[in-house]
Structure formats: C-alpha cells, structure tokens
Amino acid sequence: MSLPDKQGHFGEFGGKYVPETLMALLEELEKVFRAARRDKSFQRELAYYLNEYAGRPTSLYLAERLNRHLKTLKVYLKREDLLHTGAHKINNTLGQVLLAKRMKKTRIIAETGAGQHGVATATAAAFMGLHCEVYMGSEDIERQALNVDRMKLLGAKVVPVTSGSQTLKDAMNEAIRDWVTNVRNTFYIIGSVAGPHPYPLMVREFQSIIGKEARRQFLAKEKRLPDYLVACVGGGSNAMGLFHAFFNDKHTKMIGVEAAGLGLATGHHAATLMKGDIGVLHGSKSNILETKDGQIKVAHSIAAGLDYPGVGPEHAYYKKIGRAGYVSVTDKKALEGLRLLSRTEGIIPALETAHAISYLERLARKAPRNSRVIVCLSGRGDKDMGSIKGLIK
C-alpha cells in the first residue's frame, strides 16, 4: 500500500493535529492537490517552470577530488545548489504556488529558518504576482541577514518572530496563527515534509524530482544503483526528496544526517530522530524533542535550517521500519565539512548541507571499498558567509 493512507498517516505517524478552523481547508487542499497530480496541464506547467525558470534538471556530479580525499568512496553530488535561489526549496514552492493559484488564494505566507525557503517562496510569489509574508525568528533574521535582504528585494514582507526560541519552531507557530486567522484568502506554503496532512505528502511529491532525476542519472553513468544516499535532515525535505524514488531499491541504503549541535550529550542539538520521543508538533505526529512534561524543547544547531525540534513524519516512519538510518554531525564537524568541499571541489555548501558532507568522512571509514554514494547537495553557502565569519580559517 502506498503511504500516507487516506487520513495522512505513515504507520503511526503523520495525521492532522490542527485547530478545527483549518480542517475544511486541509480537506480542500488535498482535493486540489490530488486533482493537480492527475492533471497533465498542471504537470506540464510545473515542469516548464522547473526546467526553464529554476534550472532543472540539476547535474549529478562526480566529485573526483573529494573522492581522492575520502579514498574509499565514489561520491556523486546531486547539485540542487545550482537551482535558481540556490537550494532545493524552489522545487516545492513552485509547485505550491501553482496550487495557490488554482485555489484562487491571493496571499502567500511561509515560515523560514535558514531563509532558503523564505527566499524560494518570495521568488515564487513575486513571479506569480501574489502578496507574500514570511515569518522568521529574530535570531535567524540576524544569522541569515543576506536572505532577509533578498526576500525584501523580492517584495516579501519579513515578519520577525520574537516569541519562544526566536527560531524556526516559533516562526512556524506564528505562521499557523496567521493562517488560522486569514484562512479564506491565504495559502500557507510549508517548506518541509512536516505539518499536517497533506503537506508531508505534497512536499515530498514536489521534492521527489530530486531522487527521480538522480536515480536515472546514476543508472546512466554507473549502470547500477547507488549503495548509499546521504542527505541532511532538519524537517527533512531534501532528504525525502532524494530518498523517496529509491524506496523499493532494497540494496540502496539511506542515511539522514541530523544536527548534533554542541554534541548529543550536551542536550543542545536538533537530533530529533536519534534522541527524540514520539509526539505531536505543528500538525503531525512524529519524532520531537520534548521535556519530561511534554513541552517542546528548544533545538540547537549552527545551521538555521536544521534548528528545529521536529521532523517530517515519513522520516519517523522510515526510521521505525528500518528503511533509513539516521546519524548526526556536530556544529564543529559541519564547519569542517564546509571547508572540505570548498577546498576540494570549489563548492561552498550551505551549513545545513555541510552536515551531510562531513558525514562522508565517517562513512568512508566504515563502508566497503569503492561504495557508490549520492549526496544531496541541497544548497549553496553564500547565505552563511556572515554567520561563519571567524569560524573558518
């Protein structure tokens, strides 16, 4: 059976845990989405924009100098960083903004952590001529200042969120409050495979083009399937985008890399799948970081896009059934990963993506010699230049 089921459940995970005001809208959204999925003209339009506007297909690049450094692995990079706006997020925002148009919504809202989803949403809204407001934690506004300026230039209003941890979690709370209030004219573009059904399904669908392309490209180059897929996981959209097309390829192992922040033992991390409990946050049941009283904990990561105490429900499901494994990389190691890829390949990855790069050094030590790997290079690092100043020599 294909998941999620009709109620949006991936096994025990997923579902719709939202205020009643949103329930009718979610039902309507699901109908519109399912109709669009079957509608050739919608698919043609989306493909047109993905190819002509965003720059798909992205290349699957054999990272020879990185591989010389790693010695035992043959790594290919799926270059989502080459897309318009600099990250995979645009795959999803183009899809959702087309749905918003079908639903005749005039106003777009979004939450953002690293600002990549905010920029991708502001971009999609700008070229569709829709009004756009992006909720962003005030701590993130500071550490991702470049993206804030980009959003403003694109005509979006960036709304600072000063409640709670002032990061992605609180930005999402505020976005949901706005949505409940303006549900009749507003479309909420969620940036990850999180939130209430049908968002995890919808975002997966729009991002799964990463894996579909990569699988085809890899088969053409290697005449076989990869041994490993590696991607960073915050909410988990780039990872699910890469993983999903390989679900039935039993010999391809999937590894999601979470943010270990200052170290798993310190409690200051965002390793939801490794260290979290099952719980409900932002509309779905999944793994979350919580206190002994069931209050949501504040996550920590140097990468704003991973700094979230929840994760998409399908990842919780993949972990539960053993289809994917989840590991973690500290802030410090992520910075080393960022430096490694910059020096070996001349590619500056986003801090989020740098977690996946860093993990390759560990994988290289334990994987069989000559293992083939696809890494999702989910975004480029320009946005982080301000916040890593002084941290990299």
Binding site: Q7, G15, K16, Y17, V18, P19, E20, T21, L22, M23, A24, L25, E27, S163, G164, K169, D170, N173, I176, R177, V180, T181, N182, V183, R184, D277, G279, V280, L281, H282, G283, K285, I288, E290, D293, G294, Q295, I296
Partner: protein, 265 residues
C-alpha cells in the same frame, strides 16, 4: 454518576439560563492563586471553569494566553501539579471543571493514564484545540471509560458534513469558535455569528457554547441570544495579568468576572 457538566446544563435549561464559562491558565501567576480563583469564581456566578494547561507552543492562542502560558511554565506547572490543584478544589467545590490542554502533554503522559488520573482528581471534561475527532479515537475511548466529557470544536469554516461528525464526537458541550483566528479579546465579533450558531444548532441537540474574542457584557449578551453558553478567556487572563503583583488579585479578578457573569443572569 452523571457528568457534572451535563448536570449543569440540565439545571440551566430548567432555569432557562445560559452558561457562563470562565477560562484561566493554571499556574498564572501561580497554582495557589489558581485554586483561590476557581473557588471565588463559583461564588461570582461562573457555571463552568475551563482550566488551561500551559504549553510551550500554543498555536491556537493569541498573545494574551501565550503570555499567561509562559508565566505558568516559568513556575514549572505541569499536568501532575494541575491535577493536584483540581483535587484540592474538589474538597471545597463541585463546580464543573474542563481542562483545556494541547495534545502533546496528554499524549506524552499517556492517554489512559491521563484520563484515569484526571477523573480521580475531579476533572469533568477535556478540551484539546489541536486534536480534531479524526485523530481523537484513543482519547475519546479513554475519556468515555472514565466518564469525562470530550468537547470538540466547530468553526465558521466547518462544513456541514464535518458538523455532524464533530457534534457526534462531542460530549458535555460543543465549543463554537466565533471567528477565524486565535484567542484574544476583540472589539467586534463577526456580524454573521448569530446565524452561524443557529446553523450549527440544527446539527445537534447538545449545548453549543461560543468562545474566542468574547470580552464585554454587551458581547456576552449578544452571543447568549443564540448560544447555550459563553466562554470568556483572554479578558479574564488580561485582568489577572494586570493584577499579578497585587495582594488583592483574587478579589479584583473575581469581581470583574462577577460583572461579566452578571450580564447573563
């Protein structure tokens, strides 16, 4: 034994009166004040108390109740300590009490363990704003076993098909959300509210109570014209916040509540 919320609505129906339901956040400014407030509310003419369990991420709440939750969480209030307060209240008062909580603390505590403990402590009903009936099978089953009412929500966006489903799952009363939005006092309520509540009442014979935004005697009277009860939250929580350092907090807040409740009786 019949549920105290059901008994209250029967009593009010006989008297041809509407219910005045007062919301406060447990532990704001501390649990001992919460206990005193509930006891004082009974004398002030409150029919049912809705006791809010503070949550770190209250996404259906506006700034007033968010701030109250933060104040309560700073005091390390949790389900255990709130249920202990209800138990203490029960030694002196039989006022119906519904707990309003987000779902995660309950899920984390364990639904069966929670409903059993809530019942034993003297809680009468549960209101969970991020748990629609579709996801509530386990909680509904556990609550039925322990004789707790499960209050679900209707809103201006609810379709007729959903109205039936929500009404069927609700016991005690049905919570009608007056507007599309979060909690918080409003100067004006939607002009269509009365018609919408009347429409909702066509789907059920259970009491329909209206909350969100209701904050003045005039609004309370207007809402009560169509509904079986009125829920006031943020206006009372605001009054508590203003008095939070005053020795006379309980006295001031309960006289404000008496003023609001008086507009119904």
């Amino acid at each position: 034994m019949e549920n105290k919320i059901d008994l209250k609505f029967k009593e009010l129906e006989k008297k041809k009166k509407k219910a005045f339901i007062a919301f406060i956040t447990a532990g704001d400014p501390n649990l001992s004040v919460t206990e005193k407030l509930v006891l004082a509310f009974e004398k002030a003419g409150v029919d049912i108390v809705e006791l809010g369990v503070p949550f770190s991420d209250p996404l259906a709440d506006g700034p007033t109740i968010q701030a109250a939750s933060q104040r309560a969480l700073k005091k390390h209030v949790n389900l255990e300590s709130i249920l202990a307060v209800v138990k203490r209240i029960r030694q002196r008062s039989q006022i119906p009490i519904a707990l309003m909580t987000y779902y995660n603390p309950v899920f984390h505590y364990g639904e069966d363990r929670f409903t059993a403990k809530a019942k034993a402590s003297g809680v009468d009903g549960l209101i969970i704003p991020d748990l629609p009936p579709e996801e509530g099978h386990n909680l509904i089953r556990a609550a039925r076993q322990d004789g707790l009412a499960t209050v679900f929500f209707l809103s201006p966006t609810t379709t007729s098909e959903r109205m039936r489903r929500v009404a069927k799952s609700s016991t005690g009363f049905i919570y009608y959300v007056s507007l599309t939005g979060v909690t918080g006092a409003r100067r004006q309520l939607p002009g269509t509210l009365r018609r919408q509540v009347e429409l909702a009442k066509r789907f059920t014979r259970k009491p329909v109570c209206v909350g969100f935004g209701v904050s003045t005697p005039a609004q309370i009277r207007a809402v009560a014209a169509a509904a079986d009860g009125v829920i006031v939250g943020s206006a009372i929580v605001n009054a508590i916040a203003k008095q939070k350092n005053s020795k006379n907090l309980v006295q001031h807040v309960s006289s404000f509540v008496q003023h609001l409740a008086g507009s119904l009786h």
